[in-house]
Symmetry: C2
Subunit: 396 residues, 2 copies
């Protein structure tokens, strides 16, 4: 009854449900306040006040037929204009409204790009560890995923292997910085190196290779770190953005794709992406939220709260003997497990009511992801549990 | 650079853009108030007041992290519960929250169904005239569209041809009632006949054939007409609903899919559809709007205004000599063109500043679609232009 392509997804789903139900069971047994759920990448900071103010202002003052109505499939022109101006101001770029396509979050942004560019058997390169939901997006348009193995020294991309794995079939390279699950930010030098490699390979194979940057965590960078804007380093580059984390609006499904004029055949690509937005069923990004974004263009999330959690957790975990690369962005710590079996380690952690995600779910076993987008109070309470977990493996 | 599958879409797009630009040119030449645009199926009635009141109430009283946050990919449980209760009350069905999956409008509802059930070369049957965007949804998952030719006598489905065209490969049948573009509502007798034919063919081929009902116009039924609820007549039936027309929220992208327990393998189908919602990039239906729907569950659009337009236009057009089947629902009149070339007729109409859509865009040449979701004032003003158009062909 179910499409063949979907059968594995449906089968795997029961595993996720099982994890979820085990978590629920723990909560029932020990009380919700005594279970430390670090498994979800869901913002713990509410949307800025200005968001709800903007909603009220819009519905009180603007024409309901416009606010809740259809517009061009790429989004309201004034919203796209405001976003392009904001990007230009922040990153010294030169975009206009035509370069911005509003999307139902970053996930649909990636889908409409892949739908627009992939032919069957085209290859898309990703760097492990990575958000494995990308596989579903790429396979949805019959593309093949090519995984570059993790560079566990600092989780910068493994560029030697990257160079070797680019083939005639490589259509795109997908990066995610600040990274889920490592929290690492790719340096300007790294972006330059990736760009140089791709420039050379484009010449070698005599066709374009796209660089796609998935950037839901762009605004979550700590210690004054900056995230290079890739269109300044490489012409055939897409930026995929979401307000899920930057404005804590994950459920509202609002984001955009940037297609620069410098991209080869950019006009047709923009048309293709806009049509794909329509025919995958999104039609357009939610209308009221588009207008909210325009009014909240300079709003920021409360970065300091995440940063406090980051420091607290990093310092505690390393003091207990755990090893990890210090995260520079996002809200994840990717911890090396003291035993090679990360699933076994997660099972052990659960005995102390700690819910973590095994690194093998990000194509990098021997690690676990800890999502510290939780309340500071919960995080502080959890440290005792992490300490007990450490004692299983280390003498402390 | 562009995926092969997308190339035709991009090429055709220039034709649509051309039409749009010609319309703009007319407006510049004659003034917007003197151009009668009947080409768009966009509600002309604002959302009920309760919608904006509900928005304010929700953001004033509910937790921002919940209102704007992630939830189960199928949607908020209380919203789905409320919708299932409302359907049960209105149509004497027996659904619960598990039978409802919230979607980014009806378009994504159809996409996630096709993604969940279609294997390459599976056939989906549609009845002409029909909304040809369906082709993109079906082909997106490598399905083939099988078109049943129009029954121009009353635009009920041509059941003899239907019976003949069902094959081993038929995976689904897609109906749309009240219909875009004809405004016709399929009678209970018709639904019973379709169901009987499908029951027999399921036995003959020994596999399930799904009946999918696309129902964005369900609430737009005039003269006390009712729209049969298909799950009561056929077990393997999906209902795809949208609030675009019923609450005038087309830009907000909010709707749902109903999967009844009576469907074969319903649990796995529900899981597949929920996963498809996630992996096509929607993730979930916009969160605030889900909550708005719950508070507006018994709200209705101002049907009378559309009905006034329907009667005015139908009476005027037939009095001028035009022929058409009287529409019972939606907000369209499907007019027989006095000449066989419907594109030529549209070009002629444009000379009187009337913008219509040729029936060939709905797989039914020799007709034009007139979308009367316009202001009554504009409609009244336009009648003189329709009269002039009639005089080209008829002695009146």
């Amino acid at each position: 009854m179910i499409a063949d392509k979907m059968k594995d997804c449906v089968k795997n789903n029961s595993v996720i449900r099982q994890m979820f139900e085990e978590g629920k069971k723990l909560e029932e047994l020990y009380g919700k306040e005594n279970v430390y759920d670090f498994s979800l990448g869901n913002p713990s900071i509410p949307a800025p006040k200005k968001v709800n103010e903007a909603i009220k202002e819009i519905i009180d003052t603007e024409d309901s037929l416009v606010v809740h109505g259809y517009m061009n499939n790429a989004g309201f022109e004034d919203v796209r204009e405001a976003i392009s101006n904001s990007i230009n101001k922040r990153f010294s770029t030169n975009f206009n409204k035509n370069n911005i396509i509003m999307t139902v979050g970053a996930a649909s942004g990636l889908n409409i790009i892949f739908k627009s560019i992939l032919n069957p058997s085209d290859e898309v390169i990703v760097f492990a560890p990575y958000f494995m939901e990308y596989n579903n997006y790429i396979k949805g348009y019959d593309g093949n995923v090519v995984v570059i193995s993790p560079n566990t020294q600092n989780f910068a991309p493994n560029l030697d292997e990257f160079k070797q794995k680019i083939t005639e079939k490589t259509k795109a390279v997908l990066i995610n910085t600040p990274n889920n699950p490592t929290g690492v930010i790719y340096s300007e030098e790294t972006i330059k190196q990736i760009s140089k490699i791709l420039e050379d390979k484009q010449k070698e194979y005599n066709h374009e290779i796209f660089l796609i940057s998935d950037e839901p965590y762009r605004e979550l960078a700590y210690d004054g770190e900056t995230v290079p804007y890739i269109t300044k380093y490489y012409n055939n580059a897409f930026v995929v953005y979401s307000y899920s984390k930057s404005l804590s609006l994950p459920g509202e499904r609002i984001g955009y794709v940037v297609v620069p004029n410098e991209m080869e055949d950019s006009n047709n690509i923009i048309t293709a992406i806009t049509i794909a937005n329509r025919i995958i069923g999104c039609v357009n990004a939610p209308s009221l939220m588009q207008k909210v974004i325009m009014k909240c263009i300079d709003e920021k999330t409360d970065l300091e709260t995440y940063d406090t959690n980051r420091k607290l957790l990093y310092n505690a975990l390393t003091s207990y003997g755990f090893e990890c690369v210090k995260p520079q962005g996002a809200f994840y710590i990717f911890l090396k497990t003291p035993i090679s079996d990360d699933k076994e380690f997660c099972a052990q952690a659960k005995k102390f009511n700690l819910l973590l995600v095994p690194g093998s779910s990000f194509a990098c076993s021997g690690y676990v992801r800890i999502a510290y987008c939780v309340s500071e109070e919960m995080l502080k309470k959890s440290l005792e549990a992490f300490k007990k977990l450490a004692k299983v493996y280390f003498k402390i």
